[in-house]
């Protein structure tokens, strides 16, 4: 890999090359890949026996069983097929907030996960959506697609307001094929996250929820009498920021984060809370490996 990108640097890429996505369930893929498929076929991993029927491939008859039982059985193997990785990236304006910006960080996370998938011959789809926009990376497969993917991600810009519910719903409908679904957002949606996430539970997907917040949001450094401007809808909120207010803000944030985490945990989703100040490597190489999303 000679070219470099602002999203992935050489050091990270060399580490990502060693990784692969792990799924706890078997999915049926479309093309042959490296993941075991639910379908039986010509893989290398034994799955089951089946009585011979007319027309079956004679190469798969287990002659040892025939010798013992005098009946013909076919040896079935798991087909090694590709995994469908779909990434939903929240591109609302709120993602552009923070230092470093959450959006850039989200793009790096998406790029890293997509890269791991591409290297392992998995099929990758990325949808970047806000209420007013939708950018899609058509399903891609193979390492040669990496640059297309990176370019797609780099060209993304944050715009519009958040409508996580509608966005995830559409994403889920468009990517009905079971597989791994990754949602990257700050989840700062006035309507809550439950309505959105329940769409991902359809069809037995492996769901990974990544919540990205800026350090400034976790521990605000704003002081005094200010007028807070919502960067999505421009709404002004006049507050006098005091220790008491900050305490309550902290409590509210914790209840949001904790609520999201508990929601995911009880529904078998993998949940990650990251701050845009943390290095991406740590999230990918450390946290995701530890929780078994990557190997």
């Amino acid at each position: 890999m000679k070219r470099t990108s602002s999203l992935l640097d050489a050091a990270l890429i060399s580490q990502l090359d060693q990784l692969e996505l792990i799924v706890r369930r078997l999915f049926a893929g479309r093309t042959q890949g490296e993941k075991l498929s639910r379908r039986r076929g010509t893989g290398s991993e034994f799955a089951d026996y089946r009585e011979y029927a007319q027309g079956d491939d004679l190469r798969h008859i287990d002659w040892n069983v025939y010798g013992r039982l005098d009946r013909l059985f076919l040896k079935l193997f798991h087909v090694e097929e590709d995994l469908r990785l779909s990434i939903f990236l929240d591109t609302s304006l709120s993602m552009s907030y923070g230092q470093p910006p959450k959006f850039q960080y989200a793009k790096r996370l998406a790029a890293a996960l997509a890269y791991v998938a591409l290297v392992n011959l998995d099929r990758v789809t990325i949808e970047a959506a806000s209420e007013s926009s939708l950018e899609q990376l058509p399903p891609s497969r193979g390492k040669q697609q990496v640059w297309r993917l990176l370019e797609f991600l780099e060209d993304l810009e944050a715009q519009g307001t958040t409508d996580l519910h509608e966005g995830v719903k559409q994403f889920s409908l468009r990517n009905a094929t079971p597989g791994m679904k990754v949602v990257i957002s700050d989840f700062l949606d006035k309507q809550g996250f439950q309505g959105a996430l329940k769409w991902l539970l359809r069809g037995g997907n492996e769901v990974v929820v990544i919540q990205v917040l800026a350090p400034d949001e976790v521990k605000p450094s704003i002081v005094g009498d200010v007028s807070l401007q919502d960067c999505e809808d421009g709404q002004l909120t006049e507050v006098s920021i005091t220790a008491g207010l900050l305490k309550r803000y902290d409590a509210n944030l914790k209840s949001l984060v904790g609520g999201l985490r508990d929601y995911c945990r009880t529904r078998g989703m993998a949940y990650f809370f990251v701050q845009s100040g943390q290095p991406v490597e740590r999230v990918i190489l450390d946290a995701m490996r530890r929780t078994g999303v990557l190997r």
């Binding site: 002081v223 009498d225 909120t237 507050v239 220790a243 803000y249």
Partner: protein, 608 residues
């Protein structure tokens, strides 16, 4: 409290922009955030606390306004002072009399008075004028009204103590005449207050009395007397009285020095706040000068010694008479008297004799002196003569007069006597009909005389027993010098004899001063602030003059709680007028503290 720079209060106007900025600040700073919904949820939680919010918000404003207030006051240079800053004329009357040497306060009362005066001076406004008058038994202006601080301080420092009694009136008069023309004035008396009633009302004089002193412990020699024995073989006696001004009895060693040599020590027990006498007897040598000294470390040193000069020579008497048998006999029996007789006045000088007896003639003019005048009337101012009174009978006599002591004038036969009218200060000793004086005494200036206007030989008096008694009494009274005993601070008048034109006076400290004058006249020696022996070196002999304090008022050292004036009282001002204290430093410190507190409030976002 007053402000040195009240214009600086205009800085308070700075508060206006701060308040303005405060309102402008309500147009809040816009801070973009990803989403406000977490914030709005938080605000909803604390909306119930809105009044506290506002209060907290305005706390910073209040602190800032307080800051401005403090800073403006600091710039206005506030000072603590009760008197207005307009010009004031002060007269500091500083007592330097003997009692001010008391050491019952630190260093001495005079030192304390000086310190207090300097403190007062510092409290004066910059344009105030101050005069310094030091007073003992007389007043001296150390500096007239001036605003020159250095000169005033020098004047205060140059005040020397004196072993004298205290008289304040002259000082008050001088001070009052200096400050009277000014409306804003004050006379401050720094003293222990032991002096006469001040003439004039306290309000008119604008008097303030700052008492100096505490409770003293003092013993003093209050009298010393040396007596020549009647017989040459008997010892001389020295009598001394010791006063104690202390609440506990003391045993005091009393030393006797004769002619400069220690001749005896006696321990005298003096009861508390009382006195005791001590008697010494001296056989040899013949004392000329005796000194009685208390060997005691008390609060006042000046009164621990007393001196007495023994009279060795007898009374020198000149009898100017054409011959009077009865007078000769009467004078012959007088003790301790050296009589000279002449009938020609031009041959001797009256000034060389202690007492002159004029029998029948009176020279004109008559110099000051002591006279017994018989059968003549001196031409002194105030005596009027209108004819004669024939056979005047003695109507009454002044029995308490020293001249009339034990003398019976009744049944005196006189042929005739001039009808005299006397001035008020002359005392008729024996009166005839219609108040005609038959004998009178005269005391004016340094002149003392006993006058018998009628002719002795035209009466039966010389034959009576009362006559020699009267002569003896008259001499006793004429020689009596107790009243003329000079005190420290008094000017010494020294009569030059006919052959002298100068004398040399040596003070107790050894300072010599030559005084020159006309023969037969007085010269005046004024440097007598100190107790002790002054020696006067004349042409033929050296005389000693003892100046003793001998004043219980000075020795007692009691501090008067108030001053008496003719118009009322001046109570002691315990506290000096508050000395100027600049407050701006404290205000500046307060500014700093408020600033720190404001910083704390702003950054720590004080809990609601």
């Amino acid at each position: 409290m007053s402000l040195l720079n009240p214009l600086a209060l205009f800085w308070l106007a700075v508060a206006a922009p701060v308040i303005l900025m405060y309102f402008l600040k309500l147009k809040r700073r816009k801070v973009p955030v990803a989403s406000t919904w977490l914030w709005t949820r938080s605000i909803q939680d604390i909306r119930v606390n809105a009044p506290f919010q506002r209060l907290r918000r305005s706390l910073l404003l209040i602190l800032q306004l307080l800051l401005i207030l403090l800073a403006a006051f600091a710039l206005a240079d506030p000072i603590g002072r009760s008197s207005p800053p307009e010009e004031k004329r002060w007269a500091f009357l500083i007592d330097r009399s003997a009692s001010m040497q008391m050491k019952d306060v630190k260093l001495s009362r005079l030192e304390k008075a000086r310190e207090t005066a300097l403190e007062l001076l510092r409290a004066c406004g910059p344009r105030d004028e101050v005069m310094i008058v030091a007073f003992s038994n007389r007043a001296s202006v150390m500096t007239p009204l001036t605003s020159d601080r250095a000169a005033i301080e020098r004047a205060i420092a140059s005040i020397e103590p004196a072993d004298t009694v205290t008289r304040v009136q002259e000082a008050v008069r001088i001070a009052a005449s200096a400050v009277q023309p000014y409306k804003n004035r004050e006379i401050v008396i720094l003293s222990d207050g032991r002096f006469e009633t001040i003439q004039g009302s306290a309000e008119d004089l604008a008097l303030r009395y700052v008492p100096i002193g505490a409770e003293p412990r003092n013993a003093s020699v209050s009298a010393v007397e040396v007596k020549k024995p009647l017989h040459a073989d008997d010892p001389w006696t020295v009598f001394a009285q010791i006063d104690l001004f202390h609440k506990e009895a003391l045993e005091i060693p009393v030393e006797l020095h004769v002619n400069g040599q220690l001749r005896g020590v006696k321990k005298v027990k003096v009861p508390a706040n009382s006195n005791a006498a001590v008697l010494f007897e001296i056989n040899k040598p013949v004392p000329e000068v005796v000194q009685v000294k208390l060997d005691l470390d008390d609060d006042l040193e000046a009164d621990n010694r007393g001196w007495a000069v023994a009279r060795l020579q007898g009374l020198k008497v000149l009898l100017l008479s054409s011959g009077n048998f009865f007078l000769d006999i009467a004078m012959a029996n007088l003790p301790d008297t050296e009589a000279f007789k002449t009938d020609d006045l031009s041959k001797s000088s009256l000034g060389d004799f202690d007492v002159v007896v004029l029998d029948g003639t009176v020279p004109d003019p008559l110099p000051e002196g002591r006279y017994l005048i018989l059968g003549a009337v001196p031409k002194w101012e105030g005596i009027k003569e209108e004819g004669t009174s024939d056979f005047p009978a003695v109507m009454d006599w002044e029995r308490r007069h020293p001249v009339a002591r034990m003398v019976n004038f009744s049944n005196l036969y006189v042929k005739s006597s001039p009808k005299l009218t006397l001035p008020g200060f002359a005392t008729p000793v024996v009166e005839g009909p219609e108040g005609v004086p038959l004998v009178f005494s005269w005391e004016k200036g340094r002149t003392r005389a006993v006058v018998v206007p009628f002719k002795l030989l035209e009466s039966d008096w010389p034959l009576r027993l009362s006559f020699p008694l009267f002569v003896a009494n008259a001499f006793d009274w004429l020689r009596d010098e107790d009243k003329a005993q000079p005190r420290p601070g008094d000017a010494l008048r020294i009569r030059l004899s006919e052959s002298e034109t100068e004398v040399e006076v040596t003070g107790p400290g050894g300072a010599k001063q030559k005084l020159t004058g006309e023969s037969g006249r007085d010269v005046v020696y004024g440097d007598t602030d100190r107790c002790g022996l002054y020696s006067v070196k004349r042409k033929e002999r050296t005389e000693a003059v003892a100046l003793n304090l001998f004043d219980p008022r000075e020795s007692s050292g009691l501090v008067a709680k108030e001053l008496k004036t003719a118009g009322g009282r001046v109570s002691a001002t315990a506290a000096l007028p508050p000395v100027i204290r600049p407050y701006w430093r404290w205000l500046a410190l307060a500014v700093l503290a408020v600033l720190l507190f404001e910083w704390y409030v702003y950054h720590r976002r004080i809990e609601i």
